[in-house]
Symmetry: C2
Subunit: 106 residues, 2 copies
Amino acid sequence: MTGKEKVQYEAKARILKALAHPVRLWMAEQLAGGERCVCEFVDVLDLDFSTVSKHLSVLKQAGIVADDKRGKQVFYSLRVPCILNFMHCVEEVIQNNSARQAELAK
Amino acid sequence: MTGKEKVQYEAKARILKALAHPVRLWMAEQLAGGERCVCEFVDVLDLDFSTVSKHLSVLKQAGIVADDKRGKQVFYSLRVPCILNFMHCVEEVIQNNSARQAELAK
DNA sequence: TATACATTTGGCTATATTGCCAAATATAAA
DNA sequence: TTTATATTTGGCAATATAGCCAAATGTATA
C-alpha cells in the first residue's frame, strides 16, 4: 500500500466509519424518506438529545448528510442517496451468514 | 426504532464496521482480484504479522471473506463482491466533499 | 523426530468511541 | 426583555479498537 493509497483508504474508511453505527445507519436510512429535524429523531430513539445531535454531526462531518437551520430547528437531509444501495449488499452478507450458520448446525 | 429494528441495524453496523478501517478496506479490494495468503499482505503492509492476521479475522467474522488453509498457508478470498460496488458511492462522497471545500474557499 | 515456516491467540498499552450530564448558544414567543 | 424551545458543545467515565510482542498451534521439510 503506497503512501497515496494510504491517504485514500483512510478517507474512504472515515466515511464508512461514520455509517458504521446502528443509530447512524438507521438515521441515514430514515433521511432517505426526506429531511428530519433533530427532535424527531430524539422522540423515537430513547437517547439523549445531545447524543442524537452528535451522531448527526458525525454524519455531517463525513459529508453524508446536510443540515439546514430553519427557525429553532435544524433539519438534516441525505446528501448521497447511493449510500442506501449498499444496504442490499450488507443484507446479502447477513443472509449468507445465517445460511452458513444453519449449514454448520446440521 | 423498534427492538427488532435495533437488532437488525446492529447486525448491519457490525458488517460496515468490519470494513471501516483503511487496512481492512484495502485488503477487501485486493481480494476482489483473487485470493491472497496472509504473508502476501504482510509483505506489502508494514504491519506486524499478528496485526494483519487479526484484521483478516475481523473480515472473516463479519462474513466478508472466507479462509482456506492449504499447507502452511491460509488463503483469504472475498465472499461478497458486491461490497465493492459501494466504493464508487464512497468516492462520490469524497468528491462532493472536495467540491464543497473548494466552494467554501472561494 | 527435530526444525523451520505460516498463522493464530493472549495480553498489554495507547487511543478512539459512545452516551450521559451540564452548560452554552441561538431563535422565537410572551 | 424575559422566557421557553431546539440544538450544540465541553467534559467525563465506560467501553471498544489498534497494533505490538511473545507464546501457542499446525504443517511441511530435513
